[in-house]
């Protein structure tokens, strides 16, 4: 199943890695550099799943999830958080902000694809 993904990460390497993991399996990947950029990009597209980093300039991942959930258009769009911190409180914080799930960096492409497919249905 082909999905449309928005990946928000301030690291170009991470964005490239996500692209590399997802495009070969036929996903369409949009990217944004930070939370603010992410919300701007979301005005024009309707992705099936959003992937976001936490540590970002201008607007971090939590702020971005808040912004997405506060709006009406993407209230139920699944959001996966990419995090290097596997600590439970990190997960809880992401969840209470409205994240659907999380992927621990460095991610395994197979798992990422699976997780995306699962949350997108």
């Amino acid at each position: 199943m082909s999905l449309e993904i928005l990946a928000v990460d301030d690291s170009r390497t991470m964005r490239d890695m996500i692209r590399l993991a997802l495009e070969p399996v036929g996903f369409t990947v949009h990217t944004a550099d930070d939370g603010v950029h992410g919300t701007e990009v979301l005005e024009d597209i309707d992705p099936d799943v959003i992937i976001t980093d936490i540590n970002m300039p201008r607007m971090d991942g939590f702020g971005f999830i808040d912004a997405v959930r506060d709006g009406n258009r993407h209230r139920t769009t699944p959001i996966l958080v990419l995090t290097t911190e596997a600590a439970p409180e990190m997960k809880m914080r992401a969840r209470s902000a409205g994240a659907t799930g999380w992927i621990v960096k460095p991610f395994d492409p197979t798992k990422l694809v699976k997780a995306l497919q699962m949350v997108a249905g």
């Binding site: 390497t13 300039p57 009406n72 409205g98």
Partner: protein, 695 residues
């Protein structure tokens, strides 16, 4: 380069990004050090290290992950106000940043890097964090690098001969489950991928329609799954909704996998979408559309830019040819065609400038490298020196920047090692203990000027002169002016190092610096005041692709002399030339006498002429103030020429640097004046004289 290995491309781009992150890291630390940062600065610094760690993990660069992890932990302690920023701590962070760039370099070049080298810094970083008794200090790195595997062949059912497990799952979602964007059918679909799934929906709690709250949850499910996977994998499907639902997974029976499919599949229950219905259409909360997008940057292969530079060069040449042929065709300079051509020329010049700008880069990265040199050098000679930079945004051709790194490094080392006095001497002279080295860049009349100055003791002229006399570089009875003594530093074979310190010594003298600057088409001058300090000024062309040259004619050959060395032109008369010995002529100018070289003879076009009266000479001032006069037949004009390198298939003729194509399509050789002089000396002509020395 083809798009062969995408991972290799990303790896390359990761290292490019690392460079940028290191720059941001340096900037941030600098801002913290000078108190010019704001609350965001420490976060920027943290993120830089954090992002490097993230990428390093993806490429399995274990050592890099380890170091960045510890570095990041220390930065995090500062970020969360658990650790105070002190000058001491910043010094450690700077050293860690330097070390980080070393690790990255070795990783990029796939050089081995002994982890033991990082050990002292790592323990220092750890010590800082554990000082404030943080439980994290004991925490192991739970961030193990996973080298990325891009193989997508995994099918749970392909595992043959495995046991088939029958699970019973009961599942009741909480309303919060839907707030996080999770949805029930998706979970079931994922379960169905694991094996045979049977879904029963319990609708008993569902109220009648008029009582139904659209976002409340009334449904629960019981599922049975026949699969080869273990319970842990099933649980992992529910990982994201753990705590957001009532969940019970139990293993009922285990059977032989071959029995799969023999059981009747009853899939009589729908899996209705329980997605919350959108509430009343609210007014769309308009996202504040802040246009704070950073500069958009396109990364382009440098080869493509080179190609563009070359093409524009061709265009300039072509146009000059067109203009010349129009003139010779007798078209009036006031005709529309000529006016159009003029406009065309103006545009071409603009295009050329713009193309050159593509290659231009700010000198910032170069300056940052120098701040590291200052830190390291001053530490090793026990001096406290700070680097002040100015004009970091000045843009210079990328090639010039790259080739400037070595000479500049050497000059900075010199300034710290020789220029700045010891702290005791400084205090005795009423100066602050901390020395200052200034590095500045600016554009001045179409060139880039880079100044390196220190507030040290100035050049010890007595010692310099003594050394030069001892080494026989000047006659023992020479009486030199201050600037002449200063310029002795640039002479080959001169080295002030009576006590060769391990830094600026290294057998490299300022003459090597001068040669490197010269090779870039630049000039270097020196200025020193006792007790005030010494400053060097480097003047460079903006680009290496074009050259301002003087087009001259010698024995019917057209040659280009780089304009930066031509100090004046002169018509020779009986009064200003003199033969000092047979075949050896000098010309007199304001400063004294200069050896006269017949360019035509030096290049071997014909034998040296016997009489130079009424000939034209170019007075050249080479680096270190060596002066020489070149006799040419005719001067055509001054113009910018596009440099065409002569590759290895051409004979490397002495005195020739490169070639260019002139407006009439003719090829002209570009001279290397210093090489001409060296070649003339080897032919037995007069050695060049020091410009201002009285002959």
């Amino acid at each position: 380069m083809t798009a062969s290995d995408p991972l290799a491309d990303i790896r390359a781009s990761f290292f490019v990004e690392c460079e940028e992150l290191l720059e941001a890291l340096q900037d941030g630390l600098y801002a913290l050090e000078h108190g010019t940062g704001d609350g965001e600065t420490i976060h920027v610094v943290f993120r830089a290290v954090h992002s490097i760690k993230g990428g390093a993990g993806a490429f399995g660069l274990e050592h890099l992950v380890q170091f960045t992890h510890q570095y990041e932990t220390a930065l995090d302690a500062v970020r969360s106000d658990r650790l105070a920023v002190t000058p001491d701590l910043l010094k450690l962070f700077f050293r860690a940043a330097d070390h980080l760039s070393d690790i990255i370099r070795s990783a990029r070049e796939e050089q081995p890097f002994a982890t033991s080298i990082s050990a002292p810094l790592l323990s220092e970083l750890t010590a800082r964090v554990s000082l404030e008794a943080n439980q994290e200090a004991a925490e192991d790195i739970d961030f193990a690098p996973i080298a990325v595997n891009l193989d997508f062949s995994e099918d749970p059912l392909s595992a043959k001969g495995a046991q088939l497990n029958h699970f019973q799952i009961s599942f009741t979602p909480e309303p919060e489950l839907f707030d996080t964007g999770n949805d029930v059918p998706h979970i079931f679909a994922a379960l169905a991928d694991l094996g045979e799934l049977d879904v029963q929906c319990d609708t008993s709690r569902l109220p009648t329609l008029h009582q139904l709250a659209p976002e409340a949850v009334y449904l629960s499910w019981s599922l049975s799954l026949a699969t080869v996977v273990e319970e842990a994998e099933i649980a992992s499907i529910f990982e994201f909704v753990e705590g957001l639902c009532e969940l019970d997974i139990s293993l009922r029976v285990t059977s032989d996998a071959n029995a799969l499919g023999s059981e009747p599949v009853t899939s009589d229950a729908m899996t209705p979408s329980t997605e919350p219905v959108d509430a009343e259409p609210q007014s769309n909360p308009q996202q504040s559309h802040r246009d704070t997008r950073q500069q958009t940057v396109v990364r382009v292969d440098i080869e493509r830019v080179e190609r563009l530079v070359n093409l524009v060069g061709e265009l300039v040449i072509n146009q000059a040819m067109l203009s010349q042929s129009m003139q010779s065709a007798g078209i009036s300079p006031h005709s529309e065609a000529m006016n159009g051509l003029e406009e065309f020329q103006r545009l071409t010049r603009d295009i050329q400038d713009s193309v050159m700008m593509i290659r231009a880069q700010p000198v910032k990265s170069l300056f940052q490298r120098m701040s590291r040199i200052v830190r390291e050098t001053s530490a090793s000679v026990s001096k406290d020196v700070r680097l002040i930079t100015d004009g970091e945004t000045t843009e210079v051709d990328k090639t010039v920047i790259e080739r400037l790194a070595d000479p500049l490094t050497h000059m900075i080392r010199n300034a710290v090692d020789h220029g700045i006095e010891t702290p005791a001497t400084r205090l005795a002279h009423g100066k602050p203990e901390q020395g200052e080295v200034r590095l500045s860049a600016s554009h001045r009349s179409g060139r880039v000027v880079i100044d390196v100055s220190d507030d040290g003791g100035g050049i010890d002229r007595d010692r310099v002169l003594r050394t030069a006399k001892d080494k026989g570089l000047v006659p023992p009875d020479a009486n030199l002016a201050d600037t002449e003594i200063d310029n002795l530093l640039f002479m080959p074979g001169f080295s002030t190092a009576s006590n060769l310190s391990d830094l600026s010594g290294r057998g490299v003298g300022m003459d090597v610096v001068r040669t490197a600057i010269h090779a870039l088409g630049g000039r270097i001058t020196i200025n020193s005041e006792p007790r005030q300090g010494t400053s060097f000024s480097i003047s460079l062309p903006l680009t290496l692709a074009v050259l301002d040259g003087m087009v001259v004619d010698v024995s019917g050959e057209t040659l280009v002399v780089p304009l930066n060395v031509v100090s004046e032109t002169l018509t020779l008369t009986e009064n200003n030339i003199e033969m000092v010995s047979p075949g050896h002529w000098v010309v007199r100018n304001r400063n004294g006498f200069l050896p006269l070289l017949d360019l035509s003879a030096v290049l071997g076009y014909r034998a040296e002429r016997a009489d130079f009266t009424d000939r034209i000479a170019l007075l050249l001032t080479l680096e270190d103030d060596v002066g020489v006069a070149l006799v040419v037949d005719e001067i055509h004009d001054q113009r910018q020429v596009v440099i065409k390198g002569l590759d290895d298939s051409f004979y490397r003729a002495p005195g020739i640097a490169a070639a260019t194509i002139l407006g009439d399509g003719q090829i002209a050789l570009i001279l290397d004046p210093a090489d001409i002089v060296a070649h003339a000396c080897s032919l037995g002509a007069h050695p060049p004289a020091h410009h201002r020395m009285e002959a």
